[in-house]
């Protein structure tokens, strides 16, 4: 199977599994879901090294969202 097809299929499976698992655990924080998506996206990108048609803007967006989430959590801890 072509590695790009395998990459898309693996990503689909991971998103489905992570959403269903977290939902079944009763997770109600959206940032947990987005952080997991970010982690999966970067892990698969490192494993499959897919080519991109354009600049990987999705990676930039996910990274910004992840950084914002982490920053909020850090602020929550430092300034309770």
């Amino acid at each position: 199977m072509d590695k790009h097809t395998l990459y898309i299929i693996t990503f689909t499976i991971l998103i489905t599994v992570s959403v269903s698992s977290l939902a079944s655990l009763g997770e109600s924080r959206l940032d947990v879901y987005t952080s997991i998506f970010t982690l999966e996206y970067f892990t698969l990108a490192a494993i499959f090294r897919p080519r991109r048609k354009t600049v990987d803007f999705l990676a930039i967006i996910l990274l910004i969202v992840f950084a914002y989430t982490v920053a909020l959590r850090v602020i929550e801890i430092l300034l309770p």
Partner: protein, 240 residues
């Protein structure tokens, strides 16, 4: 024109966005919102991932054809001495001495870029664009070390080898190229330019150090190639 998979990606992105927004605003349901976000991310991933990249075999066939042309040229000119790879205007060229007497310095060879034949006194040589030279232009990053650059070009971009290790000692570079996947069986080409993976690595080194580089020797041990490259000065002659 977008193909079916691109329409699917665009559709998934649009559906995911609407689904996430409506789940968040109307239903206030986080798992459904997350599912919508997940679908959007997946849709965008499909959109930015090419489904039909140029197959590896096609790229390798192009490289082989290019090497075959060079083999013909080298046979016709009777060249047998080792090539020297040198950078010029962000591109890498190879100088192949044709006559035995070589008193031309690499600096003067560099001035002859654009001509097929470089001549100085009794020194005559060919200046050619080696295979994969264009690949280096697109894959080269200034900040990275040579081991990273060689890995990116040999492993990621051209998929010519599985992995590369590099040891630097003074002006000599020792490369260990594991599991080469593409090579050519043109004897003259190999004798003059080195094996294909070594030739590409030498081009990367020339571009990285901005100096001429020559393949000193190479050994084939099982599924790896051990090559020694020499970084030359611009004032040196292309020794054989």
């Amino acid at each position: 024109m977008p193909d079916k998979i691109e329409f699917f990606g665009a559709g998934l992105t649009a559906f995911g966005t609407i689904f996430a927004t409506s789940s968040y605003i109307l239903l206030a349901n986080v798992p459904l919102t997350a599912l919508g976000v997940g679908l959007t991310v997946l849709g965008l991933t499909i959109l930015i991932t090419p489904q039909h990249p140029v197959p590896k075999e096609t790229v390798q066939a192009f490289i082989r054809s290019s090497c075959e042309n060079l083999e013909t040229l080298l046979e016709a000119t009777g060249a047998f001495m080792k090539a020297t790879y040198f950078p010029s205007n962000g591109k890498v060229y190879a100088y192949i001495p044709v006559t035995r007497e070589q008193n031309i310095v690499m600096e003067d060879v560099g001035k002859n870029v654009g001509n097929l034949i470089a001549k100085s006194g009794r020194s005559i040589g060919l200046i050619i664009i080696p295979p994969a030279s264009e690949l280096l232009k697109t894959s080269f990053s200034e900040e990275a070390g040579l081991d990273t650059v060689a890995g990116e070009i040999l492993v990621d971009a051209s998929e010519v080898a599985e992995s590369v290790k590099l040891v630097e000692s003074d002006s000599t570079l020792v490369l260990e190229i594991f599991r080469p996947r593409v090579d050519v069986n043109f004897s003259r080409f190999k004798a003059v330019m080195g094996s294909l993976p070594t030739s590409i690595a030498a081009q990367a080194a020339a571009l990285k150090f901005s100096k001429p580089v020559q393949v000193l020797d190479e050994r084939f041990e099982g599924n790896r190639i051990i090559s020694r490259l020499k970084v030359l000065e611009w004032t040196s002659t292309p020794y054989t």
